[in-house]
């Protein structure tokens, strides 16, 4: 194993023997003439449009309406078990009778498979691509949580958590945290290029754009 390491690095050095490389690697400039973003205004609307374009269902709510909206979203799917990550604001949870909300800290994959829905926040959302990014921070939980249940409701705080572009999103994120970038529900086009929603990830994705008090 150690031998192969030396061998591969040796082969690389031999291969590059004729290549000018006196500058230390990081000092070699890259022309980044591309845009930092393609839009600066109307980001929340653009996000909503692009989310819907990739078949996520988009909703708007204030913090006050949120529990009722979530109750309705769960009700429309006949969901009766909701898993939530640690750090999710209690005020988001619906109080409807017959609904069981479970903190998903210790659930196994098999136990999660028995849950109807999962409710989380997110770390950042990208308007240009219709993407929400989860990084395991407060109110988001382990990656497994938003993967195994068939229905994911994700709350995005607007406008704070919305950025225009991929470059802007990457700057906000810490690479040491495991991340999941989600753009619409899971999909496949493997059969005659017909798009089918939902193979292994949640087949339904509801995104709630949380409007700050006083509206935006």
């Amino acid at each position: 194993m150690t031998d192969s390491r030396a061998r591969i690095l040796g082969r690389i050095r031999t291969a590059l023997a004729g290549t000018e490389r006196t500058t230390p690697a990081p000092a070699e400039p890259i022309a980044r003439d591309y845009r930092d973003s393609h839009t600066d205004t109307g980001l929340v609307e653009l996000l909503a449009h692009n989310l819907a374009d990739y078949r996520a269902r988009v909703h708007h709510a204030t913090e006050t309406d949120l529990p009722d909206l979530i109750a309705r979203l769960l009700g429309s799917r006949g969901a009766h078990t909701l898993v939530v990550p640690p750090g999710l604001p209690d005020g988001w949870l619906p109080t409807a009778a017959g609904l069981r909300a479970v903190r998903g800290t210790d659930l196994s994959a098999a136990e999660l498979d028995a849950m109807s829905s999962v409710l989380t926040g997110c770390a950042v959302a990208v308007a240009e691509t219709g993407t929400i990014v989860l990084d395991g921070g407060p109110g988001q939980g382990r990656r497994m949580l938003t993967l195994v249940p068939d229905h994911h409701i994700c709350v995005v705080r607007t406008p704070d958590q919305v950025v225009a572009s991929v470059p802007q999103a990457l700057r906000r994120l810490d690479p040491r945290r495991p991340q999941t970038w989600i753009s619409g529900p899971s999909a496949t086009s493997d059969i005659e290029l017909d798009r089918v929603e939902g193979v292994h990830g949640p087949r339904a994705l509801d995104v709630v754009l949380l409007v700050p008090p006083g509206g935006a």
Binding site: R11, I12, D33, R35, R143, L170, P178, T188, L193, H200
Partner: protein, 479 residues
């Protein structure tokens, strides 16, 4: 790369086989044209595409120029984040490493997310020999695996199968591998996807070992990135206790920031989406989230010899988006299997002969499986000049001796050039002046013969041809 399978027909023979199958041709044509148009629309949304493409090429070139430095940096970062790093000089060593790692867990099953690198090294076969079953979990790969078949497209490996064929494969084979297909399943893609979901979910939930590749490996942070659509990648990366990722050494990018270029270039070029449904990133291991053990296997397997060739080196920029397949007139007609390796289409025509060498008939014929029309270069998000590399490889092939090589090369070229449509495409592209397109150094005698059946030859600079002919004569060429 693992050796050429015994009895693998050369490109023209396999291609002729494919052209006789009307279903295959229809499926391929439909698929490539659909994705091609969608890609163009997705790319047109960004008015800085040219700048992104230039930056993508520049970042990859810089990485390759300092590949040793970046690999050592990546290794240190992965280890610092709690991962283990293994180096594999060739396919056999990579397979041995993965097999030993799986054995050490005591498991005899792994779940796999589609990865070109593991196909390239024949990992599933190697694991099977060791008594370990690898379950492919991409829908298309599942279709291929259950159908005891070979993939024919990088992105849509089952592009050559239609829904009825897929229904039959699922009905006949799912039961042997696990949960059988539901009774009375129709050929509606929704029902087929549902059958795959049920079949695989049981495997995901009990899997203890996952095997993946990666689209990118960030040197400064040790972060791995997997870009996918279905969520099977997330399953394989998140649920198992042990994760083993086999990654070609050219997948490294220097910084986290560099992903801002590739996460824009890749989805639009490959699935023609603004962003693919799921992208996962992880750095080593994280307490309480995902696998407890992470192993990165860095794979050379011929890549360093590509690096040593200053013309061929650009091949290592490839981010496996498959855009070049979808615009290639030869691929459209020949199908993926004709390329005789896991890498089909224009990228396969330059990558395979460089990974495996041009010692066999199929590999020597691959650089000729092209009209040099340049469409692949135009769509390539990292600006690989595929025609330039093809011409370069043709020169290498003609420098070799041997009738078999010579004949299969000649016939591949004749086959590629035979279709009048492709000839027209060549002319059109040349007229558009997007690049120097004329096959000015096409090193084959009689290469235009197939054309002359129907049309006049295009103007080809005579000196270059003669220069080639003389050089070839003195080097003792055959024929």
């Amino acid at each position: 790369m693992s050796a050429v399978p015994l009895g693998m027909p050369s490109f023209p023979d396999a291609a002729r086989e494919a052209t006789r199958n009307p279903t295959l041709r229809r499926n391929l044509r439909h698929a490539t044209h659909t994705i091609r148009d969608r890609r163009a629309a997705a790319v047109a949304e960004l008015d800085d595409w040219a700048e992104l493409r230039a930056a993508g090429a520049a970042i990859k070139d810089r990485t390759l120029r300092h590949l040793d430095t970046y690999l050592e940096q990546a290794e240190a970062a992965v280890v610092a984040a709690g991962g283990h790093v293994h180096w594999a000089a060739d396919a056999a060593e990579a397979n041995r490493i993965v097999t030993d790692l799986v054995r050490a867990t005591g498991e005899t099953e792994v779940v796999k997310v589609k990865s070109m690198a593991t196909q390239e090294i024949g990992l599933n076969e190697a694991l099977a020999e060791a008594g370990i079953t690898a379950y492919e979990t991409d829908l298309a790969e599942l279709i291929v695996q259950l159908g005891d078949d070979r993939p024919s497209h990088i992105l849509v490996p089952a592009i050559h199968r239609n829904r009825t064929e897929i229904r039959d494969i699922f009905r006949d084979a799912m039961g042997e591998w696990g949960i059988p297909a539901p009774d009375g399943m129709s050929d509606d893609p929704r029902e087929l996807a549902e059958a795959a979901r049920l079949h695989l979910r049981e495997k995901f939930l009990r899997a203890k070992v996952g095997v993946s590749g990666a689209n990118f490996l960030v040197a400064e942070t040790g972060t791995l990135v997997v870009v996918e659509s279905e969520g099977n990648g997330r399953m394989c990366l998140t649920l198992p206790e042990t994760l083993i990722s086999v990654v070609g050494i050219e997948k490294v990018v220097p910084t986290w920031r560099d992903l801002e270029v590739f996460l824009q270039l890749l989805p639009r070029s490959s699935t023609a989406e603004r962003m693919n449904p799921y992208t996962s990133t992880w750095t080593g291991v994280t307490d309480g989230d995902g696998p407890r053990a992470f192993h990165l296997v860095l794979l050379d397997n011929g890549r360093t010899s590509i690096l040593a060739d200053e013309v061929g080196r650009q091949t290592l920029r490839c981010i496996r988006c498959s855009a070049c397949l979808n615009v290639c007139p030869v691929y459209e007609r020949a199908g993926g299997h004709a390329y005789g390796s896991v890498y089909p289409g224009p990228i396969g025509a330059i990558l395979t002969p460089q990974l495996r060498g041009t010692g066999s008939a199929v590999d020597a014929s691959l650089p000729y499986a092209s009209t040099l029309c340049g469409a692949c270069y135009d769509v390539c998000p990292v600006a690989i000049d595929i025609p330039e590399v093809l011409v370069h490889l043709r020169e290498k092939v003609t420098a070799q001796r041997g009738h078999v090589i010579e004949r299969s090369a000649l016939r591949a070229a004749a086959w590629a050039m035979r279709d009048p449509k492709r000839y027209t495409a060549l002319q059109r592209a040349a007229a558009a002046g997007t690049r120097a397109l004329h096959p000015r150094r096409l090193p084959l005698p009689g290469w235009g013969k197939a054309w002359t059946d129907t049309r006049d030859l295009p103007a080809v600079p005579k000196e270059s041809f003669r220069t080639w002919w003389q050089r070839r004569d003195t080097s003792g060429g055959t024929k």
